[in-house]
Each structure stands twice: as structure tokens, then as C-alpha cells.
Symmetry: C2
Subunit: 239 residues, 2 copies
DNA sequence: ATTTATAATGAAGATTGCTCATTATCGACA
DNA sequence: TGTCGATAATGAGCAATCTTCATTATAAAT
């Protein structure tokens, strides 16, 4: 019993060092993949920059792909945490959605090379469904899903789309939008794109001027008020 | 003069053979990249299946990446031609847009491995802008752009989005939608997704039955006005 | 038929992912 | 504190693959 415990605590310190080294490797790999992309990043240099031998990397990761997966995983963890934190600090559905859009866009644009590696693994894994990265992606989009569901039931988000389609529109649009904005680098495009995206998803406030729906409502209201006046007159005659 | 001409025609037959061989290599490479993806496809086997030596491939293409670019280019050429043909056969904006969506989704889902290679080149090229693939992508989305512009001026497509944002939403949404549909392979999802996408972009005809908000409001207004009229009549009788 | 330019070859070089026999390190225990 | 065993780390070498280039083959021109 005591023997087992000491063994555990002893191996734990070793473990801690091991895990620190693992983190160091992932951090170095993250930088390199971000700078050069997957193909041009070599295990040899990851090892060199991490201060270990080539072979040591393979004590921690099955192969180069596994290193890249760990890098993407660390990206998702941060992305998800930041997304949730941002959502928690805001109250209205529109603000939350807008934050998620900006947050995602900025990250996709800055860490593009990291995300570029994803398609490589997704279908390489026999069943992506169930894989670690699939779970992380799921956790990330769940932050959006919760906001979307709230928005739909509150009437702030259009409810004529299924949730999965809405989600794919939201994130897919940003993927392409980010690409376009990176290619033609015009200031102000980010806000413009987010506005456009919100316009698609968020239901406009009827009080807002210029919207077709608002105009219709105004017209309807006038007609109803006219009808009410007629009724009032009629009632007056009755009296 | 005559000498030059014979030289040209002579070199032309040679050229023709050369170009046939180039096409053969691209065709073989297309199959292999589609089956196995970029990394697991070797130049050696492309050469073998094409009936040439390894080195011969490098007479036609600078390197493996250039082979892959040629493959993607051939994909874009077909995609663009089919898209334009389909659009030409249809008349209404909604039909055309729906066709483009289905066409794109089917191709993205079937030839995913080919498109997966794109991100690899895009930013590897010093300026993607101006590259061959950029031009081909541009030609392809131009088919959409023309339909979208027509639709916007005709009032069939919402005009509160800029064209580039609309385009990125359209294609980006499909990229993600395709991925989702491939992962969870449920029948009927394709039509469902296209419906959802159309709902976002195409302006509903107010005259169409079942269009919710506007029609409902109109109906309610009519009923209220009718009620007002009955009250008026009743008041008249009273008097 | 000879010459010359073009096309093709495939062995060798270079890079890089990955393995494994060997060495080093660290904690436990007497 | 010194020894031992398990765990961790090493890096030379293997294997796979992209790419080059000296050599050979082919086809057109004269």
C-alpha cells in the first residue's frame, strides 16, 4: 500500500517532467506548423528546437501526423475556452453571436496554417466520427449551438433552418470569408462581413427603420388604427 | 518561310504526342490523388501507371506539387463547364441557383480528396492572387456571380449583402455542409440543406402559399378589418 | 543516310520519417 | 550511501520517396 503510493508519487514527478517535455514539443511544433505548414516542417527540427533527439519525439507521439493532431487539439482547446468565456461575458443573443463570429474569424485568419492540416486527418482516420479531433470540434461548435438554440427559442435567430444547416452556414461562410479577406486585404472588410452574416441569421428588430418587415408592420398598424377609429366613430353614434 | 512552316507542323505532331502523354499523366494522377490523397500518392506509381519512367514526369511537371495543381486545374475546368451548361439550360434565377448548389455539393462530396489539396498550394504560392488556380477559381465562381447579379437586380435574391460576402456564404456553407453530410450519411439531407441555403438567399415570393410572416400578417389584418366592418354595420343598424 | 534537336530513361543523390540497439537517468531499497 | 531495475533518451542507420542528370533513344531535317 505505502509502497504503491510512494511508487505512484515518484513516477508522478517523472511523469510531470515527461508531460512538460511533451508540452514543449507541442509548443515548438505549433510554431513551426504555423510558420511553414505541415509538409515543410521536419521532425528533426522540432526535436532540435525542443532540445531532444529525433527518436525522443517518437516516444511521445506515434508519428508526425500525431504531432500535428496534438497541435490542432491544443488550438481547439484554446479556441473553445475563449469562445465560452466571451459568450459568458455577454447577454444578448445578437452580441454573443457577433462575438463568436469575430472570434472565429480572427482565429481562422491568424492560425490558418494550423486549420489547414485538418482535412488531412479527417478522412485518414478510419472513422473521423469518434476521433479525438471530432470530439474537440464538437465541443467547440457546441458553444455556438447553445447560443443558437437560445436565440431560436427567444425569436432572435431565424428558426426556418435546421440547427446543423445553420451551423454549417455560419462556420462555412466564415471559412471562405476569411480566405477572401486574406487574399484581398482590405480594411473594414471584417466588420462588413460580420454584418452581412448577422443579417442572414439574426432576425431584425421590427423597430429598425428601412426593413421590409418593419415597413409592412407599420402599414398594418396604420390600417388597424384606422379600423379602430372607425369603430370608435360607430360606437360614438351608438351612444 | 516554308522551312519554318514544315518545322512547325513537324514539331506540332511531336507536340501532339507530347500533350497526349501529359494528359495521360494528369489522368492517372487524378485517379490516384482521388483514391489515396496527396501524401500517399507516389510519383513512381504515377509514372508506372502512365507507362513512363520516373524522370519523364519531371519533363512535364516541375515537381509533385505541379502535378497536383494540374489535377486540380482539370477538375476546375470540368466543374466550370458543367456549371455554365446547367445554368444555360434553366431560366428562372431560383432554378439556376438551386442547380449550382446541387452541382457544387455533389462534386465537392465526390471529389473531396481533389479539393483537399487546394489549401496546400494557395498560400505556398508567393501570391496566390494571379496564379493559375486563382484564375480558375475565379472563372468558376463567375458563373455564380452572374446568376447572383441577375437575381439581385430582378429582385429574386436579397440585395442587402455584398456580392463577395454572398458568394462566400454560398460556397462556404456548402463546403461545411458537404463535410457534415459525408460524416453522418443521412438520406434526404442534400435536399434539406439546399432548401435551407435557398431560404437564406432567395427572396420568397409573397404570393406563394405558406410563406409565413407576411402572409400571416396580411391574413390577420384582413380579418381585423372585416371585423371592423361588421362592427360598423352593426353600429349603422343601431342608429 | 547522316545529323541534330528533342524526348525518355533510370540509376544515383538528397531529404526525411521512423526504428531500435545502446546508453543514460532517476527513484527505490537495503 | 551505493546498487539495481525500470523508465527515458539517444542517434546512427534503414527505408521510402522526391528529384536530378548523364546517358541513351527517337524522330525530324537535310
Amino acid at each position: 500500500m505505502r509502497k504503491a503510493q510512494t511508487a505512484v508519487s515518484a513516477s508522478k514527478t517523472r511523469r510531470e517532467r515527461v508531460e512538460l517535455k511533451e508540452e514543449a514539443i507541442v509548443d515548438v511544433a505549433y510554431e513551426m506548423f504555423l510558420e511553414r505548414g505541415y509538409a515543410k516542417t521536419t521532425i528533426a527540427e522540432i526535436a532540435r528546437r525542443s532540445g531532444v533527439a529525433d527518436g525522443t519525439v517518437y516516444l511521445y507521439f506515434q508519428n508526425k501526423e500525431a504531432v500535428a493532431r496534438a497541435v490542432v487539439a491544443s488550438f481547439y482547446i484554446r479556441l473553445t475556452r475563449q469562445a465560452q468565456e466571451g459568450v459568458d461575458e455577454l447577454t444578448s443573443i445578437a452580441d454573443r453571436l457577433r462575438f463568436l463570429a469575430r472570434h472565429h474569424l480572427e482565429n481562422v485568419m491568424n492560425e490558418r496554417r494550423i486549420l489547414e492540416m485538418l482535412p488531412f486527418f479527417e478522412f485518414a482516420v478510419e472513422s473521423y466520427d469518434g476521433s479525438e479531433l471530432f470530439q474537440m470540434n464538437k465541443a467547440y461548435v457546441t458553444v455556438f449551438d447553445r447560443v443558437a438554440k437560445d436565440g431560436i427559442s427567444a425569436g432572435d435567430i431565424r428558426k426556418d433552418l435546421s440547427l446543423w444547416a445553420l451551423r454549417d452556414v455560419f462556420f462555412g461562410a466564415m471559412e471562405y470569408g476569411a480566405r477572401t479577406m486574406l487574399i484581398k486585404n482590405r480594411p473594414g472588410d471584417l466588420d462588413h462581413f460580420i454584418d452581412n452574416l448577422m443579417r442572414l441569421v439574426v432576425i431584425k428588430n421590427a423597430a429598425a427603420a428601412g426593413s421590409d418587415a418593419a415597413a409592412q408592420l407599420a402599414s398594418i398598424t396604420q390600417r388597424l388604427e384606422a379600423a379602430a377609429s372607425r369603430i370608435e366613430k360607430a360606437a360614438g353614434k351608438i351612444r
